[in-house]
Subunit: 222 residues, 2 copies
Amino acid sequence: MFTRVLVAEDYEIANQGIIKILNEQVGIYDIEEAKYCDDAYKKFLKAHTSQKPIELLITDLSFKQDDTIQTIISGIDLIKDIRALQPDIKVIVYSQEDRLDKINLLFDRFNINGYVCKGQQAVTELIACVNGVYQGNIMLPPELTDNATTNNIIHLDDLDMMLLEELANGFTKKEIRIKLKKQNISPNSESSIDKRVSNLFDIFKAKNTTHLVAVVKDLGLL
Amino acid sequence: MFTRVLVAEDYEIANQGIIKILNEQVGIYDIEEAKYCDDAYKKFLKAHTSQKPIELLITDLSFKQDDTIQTIISGIDLIKDIRALQPDIKVIVYSQEDRLDKINLLFDRFNINGYVCKGQQAVTELIACVNGVYQGNIMLPPELTDNATTNNIIHLDDLDMMLLEELANGFTKKEIRIKLKKQNISPNSESSIDKRVSNLFDIFKAKNTTHLVAVVKDLGLL
DNA sequence: GATGGCCTTACAGATATCTGTAATTGGGCC
DNA sequence: GGCCCAATTACAGATATCTGTAAGGCCATC
């Protein structure tokens, strides 16, 4: 079993809970905990340069900042930074997130090793996840292994996401077209963009751009 | 100090954390825990009809359901139901929610006794909150007692919120104008609506309607 | 090499958005 | 009443959105 684990979770009580589980039910005792992204990174660094590097990172996705209320600093950056230094580190994300496509994205893009969704089954899932990851498996949450649901996942490609992002940021299609041209991304005609956005209207049953962004925000895709 | 406490929280790990705190740092040992709203209510009922009723309810606001993924059953209903039977029960809500106006609503409308925001300071706050509530105080979270921030809350009137809502729902200004006329709400000219929305652009530093809705969604106002 | 399907692009017309200016209304106040 | 101020409205022009049609390119398949 893993001997050195880092738990990054800004919600203190959850921290306590995780540590309790790891201690009592998985048999891991050498646990670092961090309530801030920065702090987690520092603790990782210290371990990384020592003789006893962290073998497993368990992290939340969103961290609230102290002073401001609404800023959210992503755990994804933490994962990227840590993986940049120690590519073989195992990563388990556990988060409130329950959008299947978003969770899927974590496995696709960031090669996380496991995912546990906060909820009633978190304890059982966490234990199974840590064990599975230790054995070298990719531990998908039960929701994702169920084929009936995965088939219903709408696949949006990079360009779709980029368009949604830029539209939500208030850029016009003209501006977006110029950006695409600059980055040498094709398609980059206003006509193509129109078509793609119209397609998104169909997918999300939106009446116009504003509605589209509202729907997508509600879904948590942005 | 309270002797009988009911903890309702669907996130198992947080449950564990809370119980640990109450045990070790507050000195409460007779704790019922529930992962479902229904379950919490049953345990409350059982205690209520016995010689040892619950004195304090600590509850989350949102509970995920088992089978479906995104359905959320509100802890507010739990509070209402429990208070209906035992009006003097003390209630502490702790939740992810950090919108000040929303938290304020809980005190205003549901007369909760305390609020703890999940986050880095949750342990300290929870301890202080339980102690304060025991002494009969209303324990506002630090964010709400701080005047500097409450003064900064932007006040939007009903019409502003209505406009934001309708725009997010994909209605055009023409459609909104017609709705307003139907409901005999003034102002109801397209020009006035334009002006008001432009004003919202200024307030939220938005470039256009789509951007505005995105910003407002991010802020949690919609 | 011809066919058909799919994606990209160009173009165009109707509608909506955004931003001004200017006219009108409706209090509050002296 | 007369004045002022702010909010509401009407109107207009430039820009953007949305929805078509049509033409061209790419690629797999026959």
